[in-house]
């Protein structure tokens, strides 16, 4: 990934987002189920219904609706949610921090866990334990986040009720937040009791999201470490009498890091996409949970806004990973 390539990718972002907008817009307009019908009180007159339809712009043709919506979206106005009667932009902005905190926590857990497993796997290379670790990685990779969520829910919510299984924070906890980054804010303001309550709610969904990703990190990193350890420089370091852990950490790890970031980084989007169901399962108030409600309520403006949000996050993450790889890899940096 050279700088020219990154510029090319930047240029491709607007058309990609435009494509996403068009597909979502057209898809939603052929949905059976009328959002207006779901919000009117019984006994509303036909004139009332028409007025509401006109208010949300649903009386126009699909291309017309798209032009109106797209024009407004360019100026930062993503319309009003039909089911929640608020600005889509504000709704998404209010919920997004919850999802970002959850995903960041999950990524931290995954990277930590994956790195430890990868190093253990490489360290026991060639022994029976390696076979067991590879098998374990395979299993964890095959089972997706939402199934882990269900398993964790059964294990630690029901069978051994250790942790709360719904929501982001206890409703009886009396705190007011100035931002929607609850965890970061409570940590910064020193409210450790609040932070621990938030963490207790976050840990199960975060672990569920993290497990498949951790397995992925472990698999890629382990393969890269094995490959790097077979290279001459590692063998020479060995011959000079450095211990194996020292070689793995200081010589092999930096070189194994690049392919891991390149291959694994892209998959963070999978983790982010996984929040949709995992948040649903744990009733966690992020944008994923909101998206499912929006689909169920046929809330067109909100679905559009949410999918666009996810698309922007996906593209931004991919780009960030490419940048990181370019910065990490001296060959590409100077290439």
């Amino acid at each position: 990934m050279r700088w020219g390539e990154i510029i090319r990718r930047l240029v491709l972002i607007p058309p990609t987002l435009f494509g996403v907008c068009i597909i979502v817009f057209v898809l939603l307009r052929v949905v059976p189920g009328d959002p207006i019908a779901m919000m009117i009180p019984p006994g509303a007159s036909a004139a009332d219904i028409d007025r509401l339809r006109a208010f949300y712009g649903l009386d126009q043709s699909i291309p017309q609706q798209f032009i109106t919506w797209f024009g407004q979206a360019l100026s930062g106005n993503f319309g009003r949610s039909i089911s929640l009667h608020q600005s889509v932009f504000e709704l998404v902005l209010a919920r997004l921090p919850a999802t970002l905190e959850l995903s960041a926590m999950a990524t931290l857990i995954a990277v930590g866990l994956g790195t430890v497993v990868a190093f253990t796997g490489v360290y026991v290379r060639g022994r029976g334990a390696e076979w067991a670790i590879d098998g374990g990685i395979g299993v964890f990779l095959a089972i997706p986040d939402f199934l882990w969520a269900l398993i964790l829910l059964l294990l630690f919510g029901v069978l051994i009720p250790l942790l709360p299984i719904t929501g982001r924070i206890d409703p009886q906890l009396d705190v007011t937040f100035h931002t929607n980054f609850y965890l970061i804010e409570s940590l910064l303001t020193g409210r450790l009791d609040v932070a621990s309550a938030l963490l207790q709610h976050m840990i199960l969904p975060a672990v569920a999201l993290a497990l498949p990703f951790a397995a992925l990190v472990a698999r890629i990193l382990k393969a890269s470490l094995s490959e790097a350890e077979d290279q001459d420089y590692a063998q020479i370091a060995r011959a000079r009498g450095f211990s194996r852990p020292a070689i793995l950490l200081r010589e092999v790890f930096p070189n194994a890091l690049i392919p891991t970031v390149a291959l694994g980084g892209v998959q963070i989007t999978l983790l982010l996409g996984g929040t949709v169901l995992v948040e649903r399962i744990f009733s966690y108030e992020g944008i994923g949970n909101m998206a499912i409600d929006a689909v169920i309520n046929r809330d067109f403006p909100l679905i559009q806004g949410l999918i666009l949000t996810f698309a922007i996050l996906f593209i931004a993450l991919n780009l960030a990973v490419d940048l990181l790889v370019t910065l990490l890899d001296p060959r590409l940096r100077h290439g």
Partner: protein, 295 residues
């Protein structure tokens, strides 16, 4: 020389055996698990102790037979409507395997077609297909499948369509890249030198070499299809209530998770085992069919 262009690798029995040996335990366990579920799916009407939709409200939420209060006639207990969990699991296996087969086949056909065309012809055709894949990849797959299923409405068709529309890119991306790699190989140049048309090269030369890859992807895709059904059940847009599906059973069980956790646990177990089975099968097949790619 002419033979060179048309003769493909012919699998002899000894090669099959060698392939199975290369696949190792992954292949065996995968074949075993998938075979187990396929067998259950085929034989569900013979094996199931009860009619899967037969309700017995007097014996609702019975625990499995080995737990206190369980009955032998309901080996894995009953759900909230008093339906036999074991029978429903077996019939759900039928739905799962059928959906997985159809959805994976359709996704494969569409994805392979797009991938081959893009890889073979390059130029603006490749640009169009690649941009299309880019746009698709920018969607959260779960959300896209949910929106799609909402578009088409509840039902098995909807589940299958959602899987196909979301996942054709998986085949398209891999097939496109691999076609480009294969086209660079000497045998493709040789075929071109022999005067074979593009269509012939694709059909006779490239496609046979893509088979190991496609078979592997196909097995993995079947596992994914089973998962998508569960996802859609969670949003209530999978199949109608009386058709037994693992996803539907999980969602029903979720509602009584505190009173009867086993109702949810068994279908989760089935989904996990079948998905692991398909993944191991895919991994094993890759190793068995293509010694070059063996890890």
């Amino acid at each position: 020389m002419v033979d060179l262009a048309v003769s493909g690798p012919i699998a002899r029995p000894s090669q099959w055996r060698a392939g199975f040996a290369r696949g190792g335990p992954r292949l065996w366990i995968g074949v075993g698990l998938v075979g187990f579920f396929v067998l259950i799916a085929l034989l569900a009407p013979l094996l199931a102790p009860h009619d899967p939709i037969e309700q017995d409200l007097l014996s609702a939420q019975l625990p499995p037979a080995w737990m206190q209060g369980g009955e032998v006639t309901f080996p894995l207990g009953t759900d909230s409507l008093g339906r036999c969990v074991l029978s429903r699991l077996m019939y759900a296996a039928r739905t799962a395997i059928a959906v997985a087969l159809i959805a994976a086949s359709l996704a494969a056909i569409i994805g392979i077609a797009f991938g081959l065309i893009a890889g073979m012809f390059g130029g603006w055709i490749d640009q169009v297909v690649s941009r299309l894949i880019d746009v698709w990849m920018a969607f959260p797959p779960v959300l896209l499948s949910i929106v799609l299923a909402a578009v088409i409405g509840a039902g098995l068709t909807s589940v299958i369509a959602a899987i196909v529309v979301v996942d054709w890119t998986r085949f398209a991306r891999v097939v496109r890249a691999e076609t480009m790699v294969q086209l660079q190989r000497d045998y493709a140049s040789a075929a071109r030198a022999l005067g074979l048309s593009r269509g012939q090269i694709l059909r006779l030369e490239i496609l046979p070499n893509l088979v190991p890859l496609i078979v592997t992807l196909f097995a993995v895709e079947m596992g994914i299809a089973i998962l998508v059904e569960v996802i859609l059940s969670f949003v209530g847009i999978s199949v109608a209530g009386d058709v037994a599906t693992w996803g539907g059973m999980i969602v029903e069980g979720r509602q009584v998770i505190y009173q009867a956790p086993w109702i949810m646990a068994f279908p989760i177990g089935c989904v996990i085992l079948s998905v692991i089975g398909f993944n191991l099968l895919g991994d094993g097949l890759r190793a068995a069919l293509d010694p070059v790619q063996r890890r």
